[in-house]
Symmetry: C2
Subunit: 202 residues, 2 copies
DNA sequence: GATACTTTTTGATTTAGATCAAAAGCATTG
DNA sequence: CAATGCTTTTGATCTAAATCAAAAAGTATC
């Protein structure tokens, strides 16, 4: 799953239109803009809507204009949060789109969200036709690598307490928007431990 | 640190010339080939050679034609292996090259190696000039994302024993080429624990 | 406002793996 | 082939966080 690149200074805007997002990063010709508008289908999705199910194929690329999406997988029957994806972020199942295998992850909408969707094949065609998009797509990938690299570091080298603290610092808003259990599994700890950390009983 | 994309079926070739590598993935015009040959400086580096030091800047992009490189960082005074990089792989400090901050990681040569080097700025220029390279660089990024994603999964959800087993399975050669201590820190465990696992005393 | 359901907290116990310390194996070198 | 310096293994103890179980708090429903 290619997720957020939280590292890039994300404005605390609760709406990030796709075209505006692109304009922030590259110069859009009217032609490209039209193609993007056309190619990315826009949908309003309700809380709980399942964008993809674990162990299924999905070659769709999503862009969150508004809302929160959670990706997760099922390990030993338990639901583990893999990432939270906020407005202004692309995501896609790496496994499905790039490696042609089923996605181990599922994705569900946590709040009523506005999401734009495009099949990966179509996106590739659009990208190939426009130089600036090629550059942007590389940047998006770099952001994703950084995100994973940072998360790996935190899981491998930080204590539960440290991870909680830095999450509070980096994403104070997410802590308020999603239930504790999801936060805990995202941090790689149990809900009980997270509860104890919050209570300072640790 | 952008590391290996082990997922892509890497041949057990102990030499992977840069041009041959590129030819496997894209069509090289004679012009592009000449530019690549020119731009990537080739060096023979001895065991122990330090390609980059933790907490320094380095905007260089490396490609391993032959040998093994280890990236690591220092956590609480301890040297922790972050990745092993084998022949046929590009790597670069994400932090330095893309985010303009010092690299938390160092990199050292573990065996006498043949390595090609290019400043990131120069590489960007070459990439921008050639459509096929743009595509390839996206693929390399995707591979890196997958590698991190997989490693994150294994650290977060597999036991030490499981991680050891899957490493044995995926990279039997690496286990024979590098000292145990490096393997252990790469797996996120102590050398003692790894030793016990190997002895089946766990 | 009592009933049922969900989420969070608290408590007791267990465990995987870390830490500390030392012994055993293995190489290199003079 | 002793002497020295690594690398790996073994042993004893400790600890962060998991697990299991239940209580408390919060929210929604009739």
């Amino acid at each position: 799953m290619l997720g957020p690149s939280h590292n890039s200074f994300r404005p605390i805007a609760y709406y990030m239109d796709l075209i505006l997002y692109l304009r922030q990063h590259i110069t859009l010709s009217p032609e490209l803009e039209a193609q993007v508008q056309e190619a990315f289908k826009k949908e309003e999705l309700p809380k709980g809507y399942r964008l993809l199910s674990p162990n299924n194929f999905s070659q769709k690329v999503f862009y969150i204009e508004k809302g929160v999406v959670r990706t997760y997988y099922i390990k030993d029957g338990k639901d583990i949060t893999h990432s939270f994806i906020l407005e202004g972020t692309f995501f896609v199942s790496i496994e499905s789109a790039f490696f042609n295998s089923p996605s181990p992850y599922g994705a569900e909408v946590l709040e009523q969200s506005t999401i734009r969707t495009i099949p990966y094949q179509d996106l590739e065609k659009v990208i190939d036709g426009f130089q600036p998009l090629q550059k942007l797509s590389r940047l998006v990938m770099i952001g994703a690598v950084k995100t994973f690299s940072d998360k790996l570091y935190s899981i491998q080298f930080q204590s539960a307490q440290e991870r909680y603290n830095s999450m509070l610092e980096k994403f104070p808003d997410i802590m308020l928007r999603v239930p504790l259990g999801h936060i805990a599994s995202y941090l790689g700890i149990t809900q009980e431990t997270l509860s104890r950390i919050r209570a300072g009983k640790v």
